[in-house]
């Protein structure tokens, strides 16, 4: 017998009689309050080390980015409206390693979570999987209508969507492995800026 058959047979012999799955509905309805999601997102997201801006339009985002980043640095954008930067679809066939010198990556997220500041991005939003990790800085744009209260509603919204890869990103890359001192900028982006559109 192969290990697969051995393991499955052992598991089958040792598992006990059927225990039912609990209902998740109570949990999602308990927390389904849509009051002040932007405020809550801002508070939690800032506490997690993100910079959060409520902005009126893409022009306002550009203004902020112009102040933060020199025009000479390599910036890749996954947002069509922000066309002064290299559009990600135009470079998607390049080797992932070639993005090691990207200073800023700007991506769109269609789902944000107020309770923990997390933003859901799928491979479709990223185009290149390594981009939001390898860039020195990350900016994510989201509409406030796409914020939900907790992870319970987030997975309701994701539903049975198919994706090759997806990630909740809730802040800049960080670590506290040295004497529990929080240090921002471990291996991934040194900052996360979140732009909330109306």
């Amino acid at each position: 017998m192969s290990s697969r058959e051995n393991i499955l047979a052992a598991v089958k012999a040792n598992q006990f009689s059927q225990a039912d799955l609990p209902c998740l509905e109570v949990l999602s309805t308990l927390t389904a309050t849509n009051d002040n999601l932007v405020e809550k997102y801002k508070t939690i997201g800032s506490a997690g080390g993100s910079f959060i801006y409520e902005v009126a339009d893409y022009a306002a985002i550009q203004n902020i980015l112009h102040k933060e980043f020199k025009p000479s640095v390599k910036i890749i954008s996954g947002i069509k409206e922000m066309n002064e930067y290299t559009y990600v679809a135009d470079v998607k066939h390049e080797l992932s390693h070639s993005f090691a010198d990207v200073e800023l990556c700007i991506l769109w997220s269609g789902l944000g979570v107020a309770e923990n500041g997390a933003l859901w991005l799928t491979e479709e939003d990223m185009t290149v999987r390594v981009l939001p990790f390898i860039a020195q800085h990350l900016a994510v744009v989201i509409s406030k209508t796409n914020l939900v209260p907790t992870m319970a509603q987030a997975y309701e919204k994701i539903g049975n969507a198919t994706y090759g890869y997806g990630a909740f990103i809730s802040g800049p890359s960080k670590t506290a492995d040295i004497e529990q001192s929080l240090v921002i900028g471990a291996h991934g982006p040194r900052s996360l800026s979140v732009f909330i559109l109306p």
Partner: protein, 461 residues
């Protein structure tokens, strides 16, 4: 860890306890993490409902594990993931080596996986000439120090920043005497970025594997799992059979509990869902049993398979905090590790269920409501019955049984004890007496209760 193989928990704890200020510091640091967990938990009014729900989901998983494993496998294969099964640690290690060898890969980057620690993968691959670099900062630090992690979430919690500075100076060329966590982290960032960009293979653990969709989830704060996996040609994920959850929506329960219990964060920075390999690349998953199916069959201990590896039981455990993770001489230390280890080797880990005060704090903080302290108590009984208790303890218990079996012997022993305390206190107030450690011995009364009672009766006549 081989040098520690012959020492048990009390002996190893005694080594850790030689440096009292460090013990206090270790104790306080972990209690601080535990306090952060409390703050995070109290912020959610539905916390207890979340714990109960998570526990019930895991109960359902354990009762249907074979079906879920097959379902996960079928869906993962459908997604283009290559699935392997390993009955033992050796088989797991061999599968990984074969995957690398076939491609002529001799260097691999690894993100955190306690399962690979359990299987001693690094040592195995090193013997085969494969260079493995751990990319989680804490794990990299202990790897450079030549030590195993001492905590499943905070691998180098036992190390001071000055010691880490010395290690980095020696291995990564940082300035001598540099101990600023910011500068040391930046040094590691530069060093590991080079590693990520040059490795063709990346290994990660698995936090959750979803039967319904065939995807798996990895949680990190540093983003090291993603840097490794997205840049490598081949991504190998090692998972224990108990990591399965039935449906994607159940992640909404577990991701809310995991980091709040671990560090007090509302979620990890990255919760990455791997469903399909990138174009032209491969994802392999190795599903490992290594004793888990046996534990599933032990009714008293099967709940330990619900564990989601948050480390809350360690952070709260008064024994762990004061004895250090290495004193447990097993990959998963602390209360939960003391339940898991005897399942693998009852004789080797017979000491661990005794490394507890049975105070119940571990059970109270467990996000999936494992009855940890009850299981520790039950293991003690199994171990005593199996005859694996230390010789000194067995002898002492036998001596006690003998003394208590006859009133005459009991009275004589009491008299002897009081005599010793009075006229030869040095015979008990010394290091050879474990009760003397960290406490003053009591003053012996002049007479026993029996003697006093008899005298009182006499006087009343």
């Amino acid at each position: 860890m081989s040098s520690n193989a012959t020492k048990d928990h009390p002996q190893l704890a005694a080594i850790f306890n030689r440096d009292e200020p460090r013990v206090d510091w270790h104790d306080e640091t972990l209690w601080w993490v535990r306090a952060k967990r409390d703050i995070a938990a109290h912020k959610l009014p539905e916390w207890e409902l979340l714990r109960e729900t998570a526990s019930q989901i895991k109960n359902n998983v354990l009762s249907n594990l074979s079906t879920y494993l097959e379902q996960f496998e079928a869906n993962a294969i459908n997604n283009g993931i290559i699935v392997h099964w390993a009955a033992t640690a050796e088989e797991h290690n061999k599968i990984i080596y074969t995957l690398l060898e076939k491609r002529g890969i001799s260097r691999m980057v690894k993100s955190k996986s306690m399962l690979t620690e359990e299987c001693h993968l690094n040592e195995y691959l090193l013997k085969q000439g494969i260079d493995v670099i751990d990319s989680d900062l804490g794990e990299r630090i202990v790897q450079l120090a030549g030590e195993p992690p001492s905590h499943i979430v905070l691998p180098c919690i036992h190390k001071k920043k000055e010691e880490i500075g010395d290690i980095f100076h020696e291995h990564l060329g940082s300035a001598k005497g540099e101990s600023d966590p910011k500068i040391l982290t930046e040094t590691a960032r530069q060093h590991l970025r080079e590693v990520f960009l040059t490795r063709r293979a990346a290994l990660t653990g698995v936090n959750f594997a979803i039967a319904e969709t065939g995807e798996f989830v990895i949680c990190t704060n540093e983003g090291n799992a993603d840097m490794g996996a997205h840049l490598a040609e081949i991504h190998i994920a090692s998972m224990g059979i108990e990591k399965i959850i039935p449906e994607r929506k159940h992640l909404g329960v577990f991701l809310r509990l995991l980091t709040r219990s671990a560090t007090g964060q509302p979620i990890t920075t990255y919760s990455s869902h791997f469903s399909k390999p990138q174009d032209g690349k491969e994802i392999h998953i190795v599903i490992v049993d290594n004793g888990r199916s046996i534990q599933l069959g032990r009714e008293d201990f099967r709940n330990s398979l619900k564990c989601i590896r948050c480390g809350a039981c360690m952070n709260t455990c008064p024994v762990y905090r004061k004895s250090g993770g290495h004193s447990y001489h097993t990959a998963v230390a602390g209360p939960i590790g003391s339940i898991l280890a005897p399942n693998l080797d009852m004789e080797k880990y017979a000491d661990l269920p005794f490394a507890s005060t049975l105070c119940g704090s571990c059970s109270n903080v467990c996000p999936v409501k494992i009855d940890i302290h009850d299981q520790l108590y039950k293991w003690r009984q199994v171990i005593v019955k199996a005859g694996y208790t230390p010789k000194a303890k067995t002898l002492a218990m036998k001596g006690m049984a003998f003394t208590l079996s006859s009133p005459m012997i009991y009275r004589a022993a009491g008299k002897m004890g009081r005599f010793t305390f009075k006229y030869a206190p040095f015979a008990v107030n010394n290091g050879a007496n474990p009760w003397y450690k960290h406490r003053e011995m009591p003053k012996a009364p002049e007479q026993s209760f029996g003697e006093w009672y008899a005298k009182r009766k006499e006087n009343k006549k």
